[in-house]
Subunit: 450 residues, 2 copies
């Protein structure tokens, strides 16, 4: 059956109110796949599906439906189903969803929740977008340090149905101070009489709710954590961030850096309507136009030289192109290393020196090749020499700015990738044209009479 | 205590053969942090550390030590310790390590292993670098479908010490055919008398050992898998890939795309010696030189026009710069969408049309701004008009090639990011210069006498 046929089938079941075949059809699929089919229906149909199979059965699928579709279908649900569905949702997904709603509906929905649920939502939606708090779930399993292993296992069994994971269980005292971690593996392998206090890991890495989620991803990847506990300023446990959210975070952070290096807004997607893409890209292009105008102005200063040796107009494009290319190489290496935590703050200088050294060496090698080609092309050794020198100079500039710009942005607590390629291109374009045309002007008599 | 002091401390313990304080000092740290300290010692010192605390105690730390350091220290170990250490290592780490050794030492080491271990290593090192097989571990937990839950739990307890994870347990028949999956969560929550067969998930997603590891990461991220089972061509289970390896895979695949877009070799690291970086970058710069030469040649065709209107040499740099920038925007959006699986193969055309439409709109908007500036700068309306038209043309080229190049590379089963920016830059540089200087040549009389 094709996707379309499957969707038609679902639609027919929904129209006829056939809840059992509907449920059975979808339960054969992984919830993520079922959600993809469901997401193709209208919001009213999705709501009717939730009503038909019941919020509890629909939830695993509903959680995989994209946000915007979820949001639209909520408005078609009955008061009662809506309240049940929201109570059943995992706290982090529920908060993310509520945050998307317009004020009136948000108000109405919050009034349907229990007081504790409402407070939970309000707490979660107050964390800044890229913080650990905004990505955590409050549905984590807890144990008391004085339980023995046997009763702890019983306790975990009871907690399991409502918890995001029971593979890491956190040990807290009566004021929710985080004391340690017990994995379910440790728990089932320890003698039943042991105390949780004695088998728990005490040296525990936790993050504050304000911590940048990117740092949490770095920690998890370094230590192979399945989940990371989040604590408030007083060291009280407030949530956990689990591996599946980190898959997305790691991919998103990389997308963010790639987009910033390419002068793209991170709100853009391949599926954005073209009008939106235009709106998001034009400001960046206008920013680059600034670079272009400065470079064009530098060239215009040497109009007289170019008028006498038009070959310069042709050759200068190579100087700018390769400078931009080399600058982008240095920039990308340094931005990625900063993102992955491969450069410690104290060790910026070696990175800067290295990129300048690489620029110098590349300039000498590639510049020599270009110099010889230019000499052979125009039969003028002085043009060849100037090309060589300009390439050396511009590739040193490329290495210097390619490394320096992201490091300085980082020192200023800004995103090392954001806008950095505009700075670097300005440096290599302006620098390249200035060195090349400046040298040509100085050596003009030699070029004209080699 | 600073890091250096800690290292001196460790060194002193090792020299004096004080195994107990050495072990205690390190066991206070997370193995990843302990490994960072250990990795700063000489290979001989590391080997002596392993001998002193014993391979079993040293292993958790040793596994986090970087490959190259592990490798060097192995040669200093006694025969017996070496054999023990290798037996204890997890199968995937062991295979990765053996693969790095030179032939003679590899031979010697394999002869120390049990036959089954040796066969396991030889099997794992034969998978291609980016395949699921090369990333999987063979240390996974297994159950028989006819066990009841009580005995299954007992079985899991027995398997736990040697398995990478016991949170997903795979159900296989006597010929290792993969039948289903039971999570430890399901197991501890099910009645003790239930059969594994009845509680297991039967609709299971598995990958073949030859599958690209990038696809495995995509699957896990889509379905929130903690581990993915790997099967051979006959459907027999051969290994699993766990979440912690996928953290690294997701980050590495993103790095690979970023590097390819910036014309960098993926073997390069920020910590590579400068000579190596030069060696890896020069070929890419020479590749770009090809682009530069073609563009320069196009410019040289219009030498006579430039000679008459030198302002063209200045303005043409803006056309090329913005074309390159817009092309890079389209390229990055499409490459990232392909990598994240956001573009289905059948839906290439809408993406292409959209990027061309965005290019057209951006060209009309940004080109108008540049056109007006050029007009005001040089007081020549015809120069302004030509700039506008050239920008429109070049940004359409940018959108077209930026979307088409990665899509075509993908259709040819090549990496959509690899080398694509060279193609796109060639298109925008050559196209931009040709349109701009071509229009200027056609309208030369008008420009000279506006």
């Amino acid at each position: 059956m094709t996707r379309q046929q499957q969707q038609e089938q679902l639609r027919a079941y929904i129209e006829d109110g056939l809840s059992l075949p509907l449920y059975e059809e979808l339960s054969q699929l992984h919830p993520a796949d079922a959600a993809e089919l469901i997401a193709g229906l209208t919001p009213a149909e999705i709501a009717r599906y939730v009503e038909l199979v019941g919020p509890k059965e629909a939830l695993p699928v509903f959680e995989f439906v994209p946000f915007l579709v979820q949001k639209d279908s909520l408005e078609h649900l009955s008061r009662q189903t809506l309240a049940q569905l929201m109570s059943l949702m995992s706290p982090d997904d529920r908060a993310d969803l509520v945050e998307e709603l317009d004020d009136a509906f948000q108000e109405r929905l919050l009034s349907l929740l229990l007081k504790s649920e409402r407070q939970n939502v309000l707490k979660l939606i107050n964390y800044p977008e890229d913080s650990a708090g905004a990505h955590m779930t409050t549905a984590y399993a807890l144990l008391h340090p004085d339980s023995d292993v046997k009763s702890a296992l019983e306790e975990v069994r009871l907690q399991a149905p409502t918890k995001e994971t029971i593979y890491y269980i956190y040990v807290v005292d009566s004021s929710r101070q985080l004391l340690g971690l017990v994995s379910l593996r440790d728990l089932i392998m320890s003698p039943p009489r042991s105390r949780v206090r004695d088998i728990m890991k005490k040296q525990l890495i936790s993050v504050s709710a304000e911590e940048d989620i990117e740092e949490v991803a770095k920690l998890s990847s370094r230590y192979d954590f399945l989940a990371v506990p989040v604590v408030d300023a007083a060291g009280r446990m407030v949530g956990i961030i689990t591996f599946d959210d980190l898959y997305d975070v790691i991919a998103e952070e990389a997308t963010e850096d790639m987009y910033h290096l390419a002068n793209l807004d991170t709100d853009e997607k391949v599926s954005s309507p073209w009008q939106r893409s235009v709106k998001l890209r034009v400001p960046w292009l206008l920013g680059n136009l600034g670079t272009g105008l400065v470079a064009a102005y530098v060239v215009s200063l040497f109009a007289e030289t170019i008028h006498q040796v038009v070959a310069l107009a042709s050759l200068m494009t190579i100087v700018a192109l390769l400078g931009g290319n080399a600058g982008n190489q240095s920039l990308t290496v340094v931005v990625r290393a900063l993102a992955l935590g491969e450069i410690k703050l104290a060790r910026n200088w070696p990175v800067l020196f290295k990129e300048v050294a690489v620029g110098l060496a590349n300039g000498l090698i590639v510049g020599l090749v270009i110099g010889v080609i230019s000499f052979l092309w125009y039969g003028n050794p002085w043009l060849g020499l100037i090309m060589w020198l300009a390439l050396v100079g511009n590739l040193v500039i490329a290495g210097l700015f390619g490394a320096m710009v992201p490091i300085v942005l980082r020192k200023l607590k800004l995103d090392p990738a954001l806008g950095s390629s505009i700075f670097v291109t300005t440096a290599t374009d302006v620098g390249g044209f200035f060195i090349f045309l400046g040298l040509a002007t100085l050596l003009l008599p030699r070029i004209l009479a080699p």
